[in-house]
């Protein structure tokens, strides 16, 4: 057990989640607190919203980004708007031929992304540049069979499961803010990862909760998603 304020890094949702009864545990890397004790597997399979903002993620951008990532052992291709699962369970989102975002696995990455960031040198003159995605964007996951129906209330993209297959990305507008929506199922459960402006995180969280109302309005947490992953 910990509290968000014991860490220098904090999720913008800490008070909103605490109000809903969230408990807090340290992230695997130990640099922030992440919500815990919310939701159930059944809810997560039906429809649930999880805040993964405290988990590591990192972007790279620049015209040589794809080869630069390959050189670093990231599994990816140059196709825009496709996601690639990494051997450690993380994700690489290819937004364009010039831009990727790397998401930590649910189990945490033990500083791997931080090392990628720290090892990068401007002087190397490699045309790829790190982006602080952990700070610029909140990270939500919407899981469950009802996700497409919920999204239809806040986004103009057709997210029906047979039309928006696993590992597809839409960079679009959700509830009037720009967002990157990636379908990357967890175990056999449909899962949509949303990266959206961290400054709008509270507003966006309210929109998700409101849209989820008619489907039971459930929150979940990282440990529930990890249960989905294994079962």
């Amino acid at each position: 057990m910990t509290t968000p304020e014991q860490h220098l890094r904090r999720t913008p949702l800490r008070s909103a989640l605490t109000k809903t009864g969230a408990k807090w545990t340290a992230t695997p890397a130990g640099d922030a607190a992440i919500s815990d004790g919310l939701g159930s597997i059944d809810a997560a399979r039906h429809l649930a919203i999880t805040d993964l903002s405290p988990l590591p993620r990192l972007g790279f951008k620049g015209r040589e980004t794809i080869p630069a990532m390959k050189k670093r052992g990231i599994v990816l291709e140059g196709t825009a708007n496709r996601a690639f699962r990494q051997p450690d369970g993380g994700l690489c989102l290819v937004l364009a031929a010039s831009e990727v975002i790397l998401l930590s696995p649910l189990c945490g990455d033990d500083g791997k992304l931080q090392k990628l960031h720290d090892d990068w040198r401007l002087d190397d003159a490699e045309r790829t540049y790190p982006m602080l995605r952990r700070d610029s964007q909140a990270w939500f996951v919407v899981t469950g069979a009802k996700s497409p129906e919920m999204f239809a209330k806040i986004c103009g993209i057709d997210f029906r499961l047979n039309k928006f297959p696993d590992l597809t990305i839409a960079q679009t507008s959700v509830a009037k803010i720009s967002a990157i929506v990636t379908r990357a199922d967890i175990g056999s459960t449909p899962a949509f990862h949303i990266l959206a402006d961290s400054a709008s995180a509270l507003y966006f969280f309210d929109c998700l909760i409101d849209a989820a109302q008619e489907f039971g309005n459930a929150l979940a947490c990282r440990s529930i998603l990890r249960d989905l992953e294994s079962g």
Partner: protein, 969 residues
């Protein structure tokens, strides 16, 4: 509770939608009425003997149900705080309080019905002709006229209700759940397309719910049940009932209303099978309650088990009228006569004859008696088109049922771009040249015979499925139907010498009104509509357009196909503002430190989407709070959250060259570790943004931009770089970084009390220096800039550390008297220093020379955005300049932003910023003045609120610390 009523039919085959075991009661104008679960307001009232529902818009004539399908304005009622509810669609529920509208006193004795006698004084164009002279007279008439003419009552205290919107995606959309819609939807779904069928009513079936197929009610019912069973059994066919498609647009985009939700539908193919609208006979008093369409009578009987009357007269020109007569007999009503406008033939005619009904051919109703309900109808022989003999017979009756043809529901096809043309062969309109992705089926497509409807709809559905899948359409279905020619009478209009033969029930327009419109010179159908208001009412001309066209045709001698038609526009049905507004999405951006501001009692102001602390403390003590914040910065230290400031990372070998092209000053030679002011102009040389450029490395600049402009700046930078192809990467990192400005004489003491790898001493980190490192364990970019004019540090950190940074600095600053300050104090502090704010001290035309920013223009650079235009302006010379001023009379009222500078009675300039400076004890500000007024010491007059003139004098800036000694300590 007893609900037995003589109007209810207790026989099998009647009352499909009602549950006779569930009686309920409700009120109408305060009187208690009984109905059944499944009734609409209108059916329950009719079933309880209350045929009168409303008063008409203009003449306040009594009105009753006309279509029983939500298509007319007669059934508009008020339900609690909701005005203009369609009583024939709205379900009745226990205790529902329904009130009639558009009346003074009771519905039965509406005092406004006196208007009916003034009809000849209210000719078409009355308002245009009457109230424009003498000038101003309208304002005396408007209020009483509005009170008399209004529909429904808005309740400003109405409870807020939740409305929202949702997208729906489908391959094929079928509008209308009648025979054609069901057949088409089944075929499309069986063809593999994901299909969405939308039906406005609560039950599928359309006319199969109440009508007959080949004279047989059983055949219709069997066909309906069979189609529904098949449709419900198909997995990829989704059915939405009680949902109405209100608009159809380009690229397969449709709007639909389902309860409190507006559906935004995206489809590949749309099949409009929306049926058709009944058309009335135009004869004197044709609007009396109890005169309704035959289909409305069938709906009353079959859906709600309500007899439309005990003794009916049927006026018809097709077999549907005869079929209705058979229904009435089956329901136990008497049919006094069938008045046939022609000589209809067919099995239903034979059946009616066989059952002994009196049939009068080549005749029509021409007048009706009875006021609150029809009591008898006068019939006459038709002698020529629109001409009759005098009344040959008055037939006593309590209802008159009309079936003389239809007008296809082409609205949606027309919204999407189809052309609507008149087809003389069937005396109805057709949609032609439907845009790609839109097709029609059923009576909307001009097909009426059930077997033809079936074949055509199936093929249409199959084609839509193929097209949705990207396959070739194949051959088009045969869209002809010989049976369609005998549906619609060509001219069921019988003008009366005594008038009151209504062509538009919503607007109380008679034949004379249309004729007079043409005579007044408005002879084009579009002009007739606007001048006469025909078709402008709530039913949008569904029952008026065709007869209006016929009358214009008769008056002008041009055939209907030449007259054309008016344009259908969305929405097809009334939409509520609540549906449009729906669940509003209004993003708000909060900085990472927002919680702390709340805890400190901040009053917030908006800056774009952001919320920023204006000041800290109670609203009633604002001026004092702001002054205290200013003093804290000047005397000790202040901390302001500047996270909303825009941030851009420019990285790559061409970074300096790129910035040189984007901004007006020179950056190539800027040393690493230094910040430099940036000024951005657009291509026309207008000032659009400013900030600082920090050179963090030879190939890396961190550039700040103003809160409101950063998105535009980022767009402009990327737009230019798509074309320039310089070797840089431009990233908008505004949300990635939080920032504070720690300013004041104690600022250095505070940062030096924290652990850091940055040397904050004056020599190591001079004014306009930039450092990166860590501060109390937080990664930071620190800028020494002087917006507020004191020694200070702008500390930027990754946003997720923002709150911790705020906490650490507030704790460290406590012993030094550190106070948080807001935007209001910052505006004063910067104005004391004479710094401009782009957008406040500049406008949409300001060039840098006028703004006194010539020093920030690199004259030797070959190019920057805006350079060419600024050079032109410099050569041409400017006419105004931004200067500092102070008010000379300390007792004078303080001017405000945008107060005007007056010389010899003329406006010559304006104030852009002004404040009573707590530090200097006087009023200082910035203003644009003509060049001949800008020298130091020049005196001028400002006109303040109330017209008082205040004297002011031009003074140099900065007003405070002119040598800039304090910020560079």
């Amino acid at each position: 509770m007893s609900t037995s009523s003589p109007a209810r039919i207790d026989k099998p085959g009647f009352g499909l939608l009602i549950d006779r075991t569930k009686p309920l009661s409700f009120t109408f104008d305060g009187r208690l009425f009984n109905g059944y679960q499944g009734d609409t307001i209108a059916s329950a009232l009719y079933g309880a003997g209350q045929v009168l529902l409303s008063r008409s818009f203009k003449y306040h004539r009594p009105r009753g149900a006309l279509t029983m399908n939500g298509l007319d304005a007669n059934t508009l009622v008020q339900v609690a705080d909701e005005p203009n509810v369609r009583a024939d669609l709205h379900a009745v529920t226990p205790g529902l309080a329904v009130v009639s509208i558009n009346r003074l006193g009771s519905l039965e004795r509406d005092a406004f019905s006196i208007m009916d006698y003034f009809g000849r004084f209210l000719p078409v164009g009355f308002y245009y002709k009457t109230f424009f002279r003498p000038a101003g007279v309208w304002k005396y008439f408007e209020r009483p006229i509005r009170i008399m003419a209004g529909l429904g009552t808005l309740d400003p205290r109405a409870e807020h209700k939740y409305y929202d919107k949702a997208y729906l995606f489908t391959d094929v959309l079928v509008v209308g759940g009648g025979q054609a819609g069901l057949e088409a939807a089944i075929a499309a779904a069986e063809g593999g397309a994901e299909t969405l069928l939308i039906e406005e009513n609560s039950e599928l079936g359309g006319s199969l719910l109440y009508g007959r197929v080949g004279d047989s009610r059983d055949a219709a019912d069997t066909l309906r049940r069979d189609l529904i069973t098949r449709a419900r059994g198909i997995k990829n066919l989704t059915i939405l009932t009680s949902t109405v498609v209100s608009g159809l647009f380009t690229d397969g985009w449709a709007a639909a209303i389902s309860g409190n939700r507006l559906l935004k539908i995206r489809t590949r193919q749309t099949i409009v099978a929306a049926g058709s609208f009944d058309q009335p006979i135009v004869f004197r008093n044709n609007d009396r309650p109890g005169i309704l369409f035959a289909t409305a009578a069938q709906r009353l009987m079959r859906l709600y088990g309500v007899r439309p009357g005990n003794r009916a007269v049927i006026a018809t020109s097709n077999t549907f009228g005869y079929e209705t007569a058979l229904d009435l007999l089956d329901a136990g009503s008497e049919v006094a006569a069938i008045v046939d406008l022609g000589t209809t033939t067919g099995p239903a005619v034979e059946a009616a004859r066989a059952r002994g009904i009196r049939i009068v051919t080549n005749a029509t109703p021409v007048d009706a008696k009875g006021y609150l309900r029809v009591e008898s109808v006068g019939i006459a022989s038709i002698t020529a088109q629109g001409k009759t003999s005098s009344v040959t017979d008055w037939i006593t009756c309590d209802c008159v049922l009309i079936s003389v043809g239809c007008s296809p529901a082409l609205n949606l096809a027309s919204h999407a771009g189809a052309k609507v043309v008149f087809d003389p062969a069937i005396q109805m309109h057709r949609a032609v040249n439907a845009p790609e992705g839109v097709s029609l089926a059923g009576s909307a497509a001009g097909l009426w015979s059930p077997d033809r409807v079936s074949t055509h709809a199936k093929e249409t559905g199959a084609i839509a499925a193929r097209l949705a899948a990207g396959s070739p359409a194949g051959s088009q279905p045969d869209a002809t139907d010989p049976g369609a020619a005998s549906i619609t009478h060509p001219y069921p209009i019988f003008k009366s010498a005594k008038g009151k033969e209504f062509i538009d029930f919503d607007e109380d327009l008679s034949v004379k009104d249309i004729i007079n419109s043409v005579k007044d010179g408005y002879d084009d159908i579009q002009l007739v509509k606007r001048y006469s208001t025909a078709g402008l009412g709530p039913s949008q001309g569904r029952h008026a357009n065709l007869n209006t066209i016929r009358v214009v045709s008769a008056v002008t001698g041009k055939p209907p196909e030449v007259i054309g038609t008016t344009t259908f526009r969305p929405p097809l049905v009334p939409e509520k503002f609540a549906h449009m507004a729906g669940r509003a999405f209004e993003p708000t951006r909060l900085t990472s430190m927002h919680r702390r501001h709340e805890e400190l009692g901040a009053q917030f102001m908006t800056a774009g989407l952001w919320l920023r602390p204006a000041y800290y403390g109670a609203k009633d003590n604002a001026a004092r709070a702001i002054e205290d914040e200013v003093r804290a910065v000047r005397n000790n230290a202040g901390l302001i959250d500047v996270s909303t400031l825009g941030g851009l990372d420019i990285r790559g070998p061409d970074a300096a060259a790129f910035i040189d092209r984007m901004y007006t000053w020179a950056y190539e030679k800027q040393p690493v570790g230094r910040a430099r002011y940036t000024l951005m102009t657009d291509i026309a040389g207008v000032v659009i943004d400013d900030g600082v450029a920090c050179r963090l490395a030879p190939n890396h600049y961190y550039v700040t931009a103003t809160t409101s402009a950063v998105d535009q700046v980022y767009r402009a930078m990327t737009w230019f770089n798509v074309q320039w192809k310089t070797d840089v990467d431009v990233a908008n990192v505004t949300a990635a970084y939080s920032a504070v400005n720690l300013a004041g004489p104690k600022a250095r003491d505070i940062v030096q009390s924290l652990s850091s790898d940055i040397d904050f001493s004056k020599d190591a980190f001079p004014y306009m220096g930039v450092r990166t490192g860590t501060l109390a364990g937080i990664p930071v970019r620190v800028l020494r800039v002087g917006f507020v004019g004191e020694a200070g540090y702008e500390i930027h950190c990754p946003a997720s550390f923002g709150e911790a940074l705020w906490d650490i600095l507030m704790t460290a600053g406590k012993p030094h008297g550190l106070k948080p300050f807001g935007v209001e104090a910052q505006r004063i502090l910067r104005l004391e220093k004479g710094h401009i704010i782009v957008g406040q001290d500049t406008d949409g035309l300001t060039n840098p020379i006028e703004a006194g920013m010539e020093w920030a223009l690199a004259k030797k650079k070959p190019f920057y955005v805006g350079k060419r235009s600024i050079d032109m302006q410099a050569a041409k010379g400017i006419t105004r300049k931004l200067v500092g001023f102070t008010v000379t009379d300390s007792a004078a009222p303080t001017p405000k932003d945008c107060h005007l500078i007056i010389r010899n009675g003329a406006i010559v300039g304006r104030i852009t910023s002004v404040v009573k400076s707590p530090t200097l004890g006087k009023v200082v500000g910035l203003a644009y003045l003509p060049l001949d007024m800008t020298e130091t010491g020049h005196r001028f007059e400002i006109r303040v609120d109330g017209g008082t003139m205040v004297s002011a004098e031009v003074v140099p800036t900065p007003f405070y610390d002119p040598d800039n000694a304090r910020q560079e300590i």
